[in-house]
Amino acid sequence: MSKQYLTAHTVDEAHPAEIFSLAPTPTSLFSASGASSLRVHSTTETTFPLQQTIPNAHKLGCHHVCTARGGQGAVAASVGFGGEIKVWTKNEEDGAWSLDCELPPSKQKQQQQANGGGGGGGGDVWAIALSSDEGYLACTTSDGRIHVWDIAALEMIQTYETGARGAGSFAMAVDLSQDGRLTASGHESGGVYVFNNDAGRMVYSLSGLANPVRAVAFSPGCKRLAAAGNAGVIAIYDMEHGEHVGNLTAPSSRPAWITSLDWNDTGEYLLSGSLDGKVKVWDVARGVCVATHSETDTALWSVRWLPKTERALGPGMGKSEKFCAAGASRSITFYREATGS
């Protein structure tokens, strides 16, 4: 059975430059772009109004912003093109976001050297992911490492290597499982690696995608990992045994590069966004695409489900499942399920 999603609202010109990343909390949505400010939109009202603009967050623009999947929505983190990592927290009283801390770059360097990194100052920071308790941040580097930070302590507590020291393949994507047990990374080489955070070591090196991997995502139950990228195919891996259990592909077309993946709250559906401007909803169990939207033919950089929330929603918002997409068009489009309860 195919699913019906409708365009609920489009925030035009949400940023003055291309939007590279979206990150939802239970009540709002962060967006980051090639311009220096971050923006926060309310997701409890039908017009998705702008709640807050955080000016001068990243001078050279921001390529990744993240919040915790299944988290409270009190912490967000962002990485700028200049390589700076900033952590933002929400004031409980007025709901306004402000800078909590910037992960010290000198410490990044020092610790890399202490960990035997040295050579060439290490790669720049790229993708990030927050643990669901909002206490830990995983970030990848262009030389193939994954660093895990304890945010409160401002300490780097773990570094995973994926190649020879400082010579690993660019880690373009990262995710943390909601139970906090696993970290996954996707690489330029096509490699997908899974690490056990308790043991502090790699548990799976997953094959199947020979092309750059631009997105990795754990299912909410932490049983599955989805990975996708230039191959235009979504590979699904089982996390019990590290096996490749299937691919999601659109049979009728030569697929475009996939830039973004997200599981819905129940783990039944996967959302994908690609460079040809298409956002797709996949039924994972049946392995089929159940909905395709292409409001734009310019690149999509980020697609995200909005978490279901118990909180009071504005009139007209309903309880149906929603997702959003953004990219080169600089606008954010929100979709909702048509046949909801």
Partner: protein
């Protein structure tokens, strides 16, 4: 006056900036110092000390060292440096007196033991020009010609000789020094294209693209990679004397290509003291992310065509998307002037960025963000660099030039 006459434009001769008098004053002070037995001093600023100078008052003593070179000096190195500098000043003086021009290479070969390497001479000449507050050209010191030009125009030099830049069978003429050009007959040329790669330049020159372009007649120029001052000066001069000519740059889609385009347009940081070496009207023709992405994404038609051969869904068998449509574009080879979106580049023209590329891109983005006015061009460059980093790809000019026919692509872009 005949209608064609307005295409013949006289190049104003450079106004001397008093280099001769400054050099003579310097030489005089040295002679005075010798006769009075005091230390000999040559002022010597470096571009780096200039940049740091404003915000580094702490290193006072250090600054003094870089601001002058003394003889006999405190070290053997300083004495040698003094000797080398003095040789350059002497040669520049001679050249200025006789009205001739000396090349940097010539200076080096006059005394290779003293200078040790060509780059030492290059740096010293630039720093000397900076210290004296003049341009390198004002010292009558030039780099050996590097730039090439091709197009249906005619250059008449100050020595009376005339040079056609479009001799059939010729794939480019060495660009003469801007000061030696007296008159340029632009004829009916409407555009000027600066090309990063010599190979692309030669291909286009050999095929007489300057005359066959659908955008009308034009001029091709290359500096064979990173632009030299002579080529930049030529562009700057042409932009001034011929305002109706449109200026375009064709560079690789990588940080280095962007840096080259920016150097032509805004000048270089190392040679900020050089005047008349920018071409602000230069437009970045390509190649751009959209050119690469058009190739990386299937066109609608392609998508339906490929539906049949999609039985194999093993992702490992899927090469990069750009590569994967080589098969179908080969079938379309006989179709002349095919649409660009269907002619995908070979996979080896799209490569991942290296760590150095990524670092360089961030550096340029810092430069753009650092300039006060973020104009449209700046925002445009920023966006392309950000996309480059997001996609983590670079592409050479050849990406739009498969089968060696870049002409179609240029036709489309130049007449836009």
């Amino acid at each position: 006056m005949p209608a064609l006459e307005h295409n013949v434009i006289q190049v104003p001769s450079a106004i001397p900036r008093g280099a001769l008098s400054r050099i003579e004053a310097l030489l005089e002070s040295i002679v005075d110092a010798i006769s009075s037995g005091t230390e000999l001093i040559i002022p010597y600023k470096t571009a780096r000390s200039l940049q740091n100078g404003t915000n580094a008052p702490a290193s006072q003593s250090g600054d003094r060292q870089t601001e002058v070179v003394r003889f006999p000096g405190r070290t053997v190195q300083e004495a040698k440096k003094f000797e080398a500098l003095f040789r350059i000043i002497e040669m520049s003086h001679e050249a200025l007196l006789s009205g001739s021009v000396v090349t940097k290479r010539n200076i080096y070969y006059q005394n290779p033991d003293l200078f040790k390497s060509q780059s030492v001479v290059d740096d010293m000449v630039d720093n000397l020009a900076l210290s004296l507050g003049v341009g390198r050209q004002d010292l009558n010191i030039v780099a050996a010609a590097k730039g090439l030009i091709s197009g249906p125009i005619e250059l008449i030099l100050r020595d009376g000789s005339s040079h056609s830049c479009d001799i059939p069978g010729d794939t480019g003429m060495l660009l003469p020094s801007t000061t030696s050009i007296h008159t340029i007959n632009f004829r009916s040329t409407r555009w000027l294209l600066v090309i990063e790669k010599e190979a692309t330049f030669r291909t286009l020159a050999a095929s007489q693209y300057c005359k066959s372009s659908r955008a009308g007649h034009g001029i091709l120029i290359t500096a064979k990679g990173f632009p030299d001052l002579a080529t930049r000066r030529f562009l700057s001069m042409v932009q001034t004397v011929r305002p109706e000519l449109e200026f375009f740059a064709l560079v690789d889609f990588d940080p280095h290509g962007v840096a080259i385009m920016r150097t032509y347009k805004y000048g270089s940081q190392r040679l900020v003291h050089e005047e008349n070496a920018t071409a602000p009207r230069l437009r970045w023709l390509g190649i751009r992310s959209e050119d690469v992405l058009t190739n990386a994404l299937p066109s609608r038609q392609e998508a339906s065509e490929s539906a049949q051969d999609q039985s194999s869904q093993d992702p490992a068998s899927q090469e990069s998307v750009a590569y994967s449509f080589d098969g179908s574009s080969q079938n379309e080879r006989p179709v002349k002037r095919a649409r660009i979106s269907r002619t995908a580049g070979p996979s080896d023209s799209i490569l991942p960025l290296t760590q150095r590329d990524r670092k360089k891109a961030v550096e340029i983005m810092g430069d753009i963000a650092g300039t006060e006015q973020r104009d449209r061009d700046g925002a445009d460059q920023m966006r392309e660099l950000q996309r480059m980093l997001m996609l983590n790809i670079k592409a050479e000019i050849q990406a739009v030039d498969n089968y060696g026919d870049i002409a179609d692509w240029l036709d489309g872009k130049l007449s836009m």
